[in-house]
Symmetry: C2
Subunit: 289 residues, 2 copies
């Protein structure tokens, strides 16, 4: 059983501080650090790690300890909104882990962070116990001072603030490039398909111009590929574009995508009936491990 | 690096003999037996095993030793054509193994089988050194007595016959069901798409009636999904069917399919540009192991 974890830390400028955090995660048995990147203007770093539940739990607690020692939010500036030194920690089911495993881990780690470090913990997304706090944006908008946390003290930690811990599906960054330079078309399509303006529940979308290529892009985050699959979004964008006489030039997946999300597209287009995940050779190999 | 191996043995009736072979494969370190099945009317068993090159090599040699002790071809009857006690042994690249790895392994195991057991070995498919012997059917048609083997004595072993060892791509058993009961349509489409009558190079196909469902099926083996991908075959069948006013009801994958074959279809239909295999989360995890 493998769980992915993508902690966001409010430090993206001091390279030595970030490198030390990466080293701590790497040295945790049962855990692999797949990626980490820092954005100086946001003053923020994102780590992507994977491991069994116990390993990921240890790595996250070690990261909190380090971040609380190294980061003082009172001296922090940066464009990105944040509530804490360790700002947000999502646990994500991959391989044979379930969402229930990740929700349980989020609550366990949340309780530990609150009691060990005195930091207020807000649970979000699938781990949320309160529908008004499912969305990270809603917790941030509450400016956390006004809300009672799920674990820990009501007042934020003086230097480390608060933190948001939860469980969510893997996020797929997916863009569709249109064979046109008409930005209005990309914006209209983005509005048609995104949840916020009446489209698919698990789609965030915006229209952009790719200046150097003379085309436009519908840029998307797909936040639950099981409930809003890639192929359905692709077909909807294609159909909306047709209405303006525009065709799809290409699409692109930015970063990682779970195998199951691509298999779902193959199953749909090839009209495969009665397909089972363990028919995929690699899944079969893993399950027999 | 993982290699799959699918030895076919000329024994499908004596369950105890087959069970002992399965047990020997299972007990080999570094090897997993994914599946085995026996067909009494063919008097033949098929084992599917996976492991590192050294483990698979040991398992195959042990299987030969057992089969030569237990099977006497002079007393063998069965519908399926065969040349030996261990009839055919293909090595198949999966995960990070290449075809070159499998060709090398086929030659190594072939030389060992010939010298250890005095069984003539014919190399086939990608391991073949002779274009006239690439196809298993051509070696069988030669009735092996007339051919000089790649390794070992010219005359067949008295009780164990000869054997055919080689390397090939994973085979995908893929069927497309048509929304019609017209067998002639299935047969015409099968003829249009299969290699033997002018179609795609890596497709074998036949048309069948599914009596109990009142529909027909184009039943296929795809022998190289990299060079003749599933989606191209699906689209060709769909187009040919249209010409008779027939639509596709569904398709089915029988048994296992490599993840890359399904990803290829997703990439095609979603028009994904610049996609790299290590963007698939599971591949990334494996490569960082």
């Amino acid at each position: 059983m493998l769980i992915e974890c993508v902690p966001n830390v409010s430090e993206g400028r001091r390279a030595d501080v970030v490198a030390r955090m990466a080293e701590l995660i790497r040295s945790e048995p049962g855990v692999r650090l797949l990626d980490h990147s820092s954005d100086p203007s946001h003053n923020r770093s994102v780590f992507t790690l994977v491991g069994d539940a116990a390993g990921v739990e240890r790595a996250v607690l070690t990261l909190f300890e380090r971040a609380i020692a190294d980061i003082d939010l009172r001296a922090h500036t940066g464009e990105h909104p944040r509530v804490g030194a360790v700002d947000v920690v999502p646990f994500i089911p991959i391989a044979d882990a379930t969402m229930a495993d990740c929700v349980a881990l989020a609550k366990k780690v949340g309780a530990e962070v609150a009691s060990k470090f005195g930091v207020p913990v807000f649970l979000y997304e699938e781990a949320s116990t309160n529908p008004a706090r499912r969305n990270l944006e809603d917790i941030r908008r509450g400016e956390f001072e006004g809300l009672t946390p799920d674990f820990g003290p009501k007042a934020p930690h003086p230097s480390a603030g608060a933190t948001v811990i939860g469980a969510r599906m893997p996020l797929i960054a997916y863009n569709i490039n249109l064979a046109t330079d008409r930005l209005d078309v990309a914006k209209k399509i983005a509005a048609a398909i995104r949840q916020s303006s009446g489209g698919f529940r698990y789609v965030k979308a915006a229209g952009f111009k790719l200046e150097n290529r003379g085309i436009v892009q519908v840029s998307m985050n797909l936040t639950n590929y099981e409930k809003t699959p890639i192929f359905r979004v692709f077909e909807a964008v294609k159909r909306e574009a047709e209405r303006y006489g525009v065709s799809i030039l290409e699409s692109e997946i930015v970063g990682l995508v779970p195998s199951a999300a691509l298999n779902g597209a193959a199953e749909f287009y090839l009209q495969i009936s009665g397909f089972k995940p363990d028919q995929v050779l690699e899944n079969k190999l893993r399950s027999e491990n």
